[in-house]
């Protein structure tokens, strides 16, 4: 039982694959930068702004604890945002690429890449 061999270079160049990667990256890259910055910002404040973090917002509730709770909110919100985008945008695009590669339409990729060659010079 041999594994099917796909022309990965051609798939990689196909507009469907490029669209998938572009769409996913346009969310994941800024989201990753944001969450790392927000988290490390919090850690830096904890290390270098102790008095600010220990100051009270309301009785025993400190600025530090409020900011800590926003980290939880950030995780839940980013998690849901990514899940929705992936289900709505990325999965159908990925499925399209897989279907085209597996679907016994070898000409399909050639036609589509040929059609876009004018716009995307190599």
């Amino acid at each position: 039982m041999g594994e099917p061999v796909y022309d990965y270079e051609r798939i990689e160049r196909s507009p469907e694959f490029q669209e998938l990667v572009r769409k996913r990256r346009s969310f994941v890259l800024p989201a990753t930068i944001f969450f790392l910055a927000y988290y490390m910002g919090f850690i830096l404040l904890t290390g270098y702004a102790e008095d600010f973090m220990a100051s009270s917002v309301y009785e025993g509730l400190t600025v530090g604890y409020c900011l800590a709770l926003t980290q939880f909110v950030m995780v839940f919100v980013l998690g849901i945002m990514y899940l929705r985008r992936a289900d709505r945008d990325y999965d159908p695009l990925a499925q399209k690429v897989v279907d085209m590669a597996e679907g016994g339409e070898p000409g399909r990729f050639e036609r589509e890449t040929a059609a876009t060659q004018a716009e995307v010079p190599r």
């Binding site: 798939i11 490390m40 530090g64 604890y65 939880f72 990514y82």
Partner: protein, 530 residues
């Protein structure tokens, strides 16, 4: 040898229930764990929600439950920092690795590296990274298990460690990933239920007003207290705080037993949904650690600090006894026994996951692919995996017994996270995303990461802070957490190795890994049926 001190009867009954249920599951699972894909990956038939629960069960160790609750009781805000780092880490896993790992991998971290790099050096490097992380993490958990069972049930340290080790090996050897997964799911449910009930009891005592709990915790401190609602009590050096923060947020994405869980689901979509499930479960759990830690501080006070022992590990069980009506009452003893049972299930689930990931690295990577070069049968590989699990388990039991209860658990867990973040994470991330990355880069990166994090921990003041040590670290190194140096070193190692070597044209190209990891084209399929 004295086997038993003062036995807690309720705790023994609850431990027996936990053990018999999990052994029953192992018997049921044993029929499904004979093939390689069954043994390592539960046939890839675990659903997203089940895997989310299992990830929580795999991830939330006794260090998370008892350790963080204790740290919050002792130090307040600084203890809570761990909770946040451990949770935010799942964004790293979700955005950068989970789906790609599922699409590109088979059973181990090394599969992903070996996909486009030269097989033998890449697998060797990945196996070194995996075994280093598991060694530190596993010994820490075994020592923790011994200390806890001794304190909570009255069984002595050595038999307690052996008991834990033997049951852990039963799950792994007879039930493989199927049994391990279900032990982790049961543990996650028990742990969530336990901490929720405790939190409701704690909040009930302060009229369900969390602010009142904060006030009471702050006022119930003595003049010499370490507790604070602000930072700087546990982590006094700001650079150390940043260093720890980095290791926590990147380390989870390099933990082999967590990453291995993504191979147990049918596809990338299920891998993704399992991370989101895990995030919500783990986030909910870590939010509640506040109530347990602050509750212990508010109700047990400065007297409770001494009773909580080293690192505050007994804060949560002591709080449970208090909430149930106090030590010596039926309610108090019962609640204490239930929480002890939950802690025991917690440890069993984590150590089983760790041993399974290490045995996969030994059999699938070292034996099958490096020594036998893929010429062995699937049956042989599974047999070797079981032998590897038995050997790793035996070594862990022996080291934990010899090291004894004096081994510092949180220090070893910290070391495991530092190695994971500095060695495994850079190599994996770059293999999946950097077109130029090559075998030399992976090998140097892993070695830089492993060696620098271990070396920096050896010279850290934590290791040299014994009674004889006047100066602390022998070379004046002041950081307890190596991450801020070792993580960049891991990445630099990957980069240097790549640009300095002339190697070109790995076995399979980056095109294939790239397309496969992004789309799932050609990814390993789930077993059909059942």
């Amino acid at each position: 040898m004295r086997l038993f001190a003062a036995i807690n009867v309720e705790a023994v009954v609850i431990f027996a229930i936990v053990l018999s249920v999990t052994l029953g599951i192992t018997y049921w699972a044993s029929k499904r764990a004979s093939s390689a894909v069954g043994f390592y990956a539960a046939g890839r038939q675990i659903t997203g929600a089940q895997n989310g629960l299992a990830i929580s069960g795999d991830y939330l160790s006794a260090a998370s439950f008892l350790g963080i609750a204790g740290l919050i009781m002792l130090y307040g805000f600084d203890g809570f920092l761990y909770s946040i780092g451990f949770l935010v880490a799942f964004l790293t896993v979700m955005f950068l690795l989970a789906e790609r790992m599922r699409n590109a991998g088979k059973f181990t971290i090394a599969d992903v590296l070996a996909f486009r790099l030269r097989e033998r050096p890449a697998r060797t490097a990945a196996a070194i990274g995996t075994l280093a992380v598991v060694a530190f993490y596993l010994i820490a958990q075994m020592v923790g298990a011994g200390v806890l069972i001794q304190a909570l049930v009255g069984i002595d340290f050595t038999p307690a460690v052996i008991l834990t080790g033997v049951f852990m090996l039963c799950y792994v050897v007879f039930g493989g990933m199927v049994a391990t997964t279900w032990v982790q799911i049961i543990k996650a449910v028990l742990l969530m239920a336990g901490i929720t009930v405790m939190s409701i009891f704690v909040l009930g005592k302060v009229g369900f007003n969390p602010i009142e709990l904060f006030n009471r915790a702050e006022s119930n401190t003595g003049p010499e207290t370490t507790f604070s609602l602000g930072p700087g009590t546990f982590l006094a050096n700001p650079i150390d705080t940043v260093s720890l923060g980095l290791a926590l947020v990147l380390g989870t994405a390099g933990l082999p037993h967590i990453l291995m869980r993504f191979f147990t689901v049918p596809n990338a979509k299920a891998a993704r949904s399992s991370v989101v499930w895990a995030m919500f479960l783990i986030g909910f759990f870590y939010l509640l650690t506040t109530f347990i830690g602050f509750g212990a501080r508010a109700f047990l006070g400065e007297a409770g600090v001494a009773a909580a022992g080293t690192g505050g590990n007994l804060a949560a069980p002591n709080l449970a006894a208090f909430l149930g009506g106090g030590e010596g009452t039926f309610g108090g003893d019962l609640f204490l026994a239930v929480i002890a049972g939950v802690a025991f299930a917690t440890i069993l689930a984590v150590v089983a996951g760790l041993v399974l990931s290490a045995s996969a690295a030994v059999s699938h990577d070292v034996w099958s692919n490096i020594i036998r070069k893929g010429k062995d049968s699937e049956h042989e590989e599974v047999v070797v995996a079981k032998i590897a699990a038995l050997s790793i388990g035996a070594i862990a039991i022996i080291v934990a017994v010899i090291g004894g209860s004096g081994l510092n658990v949180s220090f070893m867990v910290g070391l495991a996270f530092a190695v994971a973040a500095s060695a495994n994470f850079p190599a994996l991330l770059l293999a999946l995303t950097w077109r130029r990355f090559n075998t030399t880069g992976a090998v140097t990166g892993v070695l830089f990461g492993v060696i620098s994090s271990i070396a920096l921990v050896i010279v850290s003041p934590k290791v040299w802070a014994g009674a004889d040590s006047v100066t602390g670290s022998p070379i004046g190194w002041e950081l307890a957490n190596p991450g801020i140096v070792s993580i960049p070193l891991g990445f630099i190692g990957c980069w240097l190795g790549t640009v300095l070597s002339t190697e070109r044209g790995a076995e399979r190209t980056y095109h294939e890994l790239y397309v496969r990891s992004e789309t799932g084209l050609g990814a390993e399929k789930a077993l059909v049926g059942r």
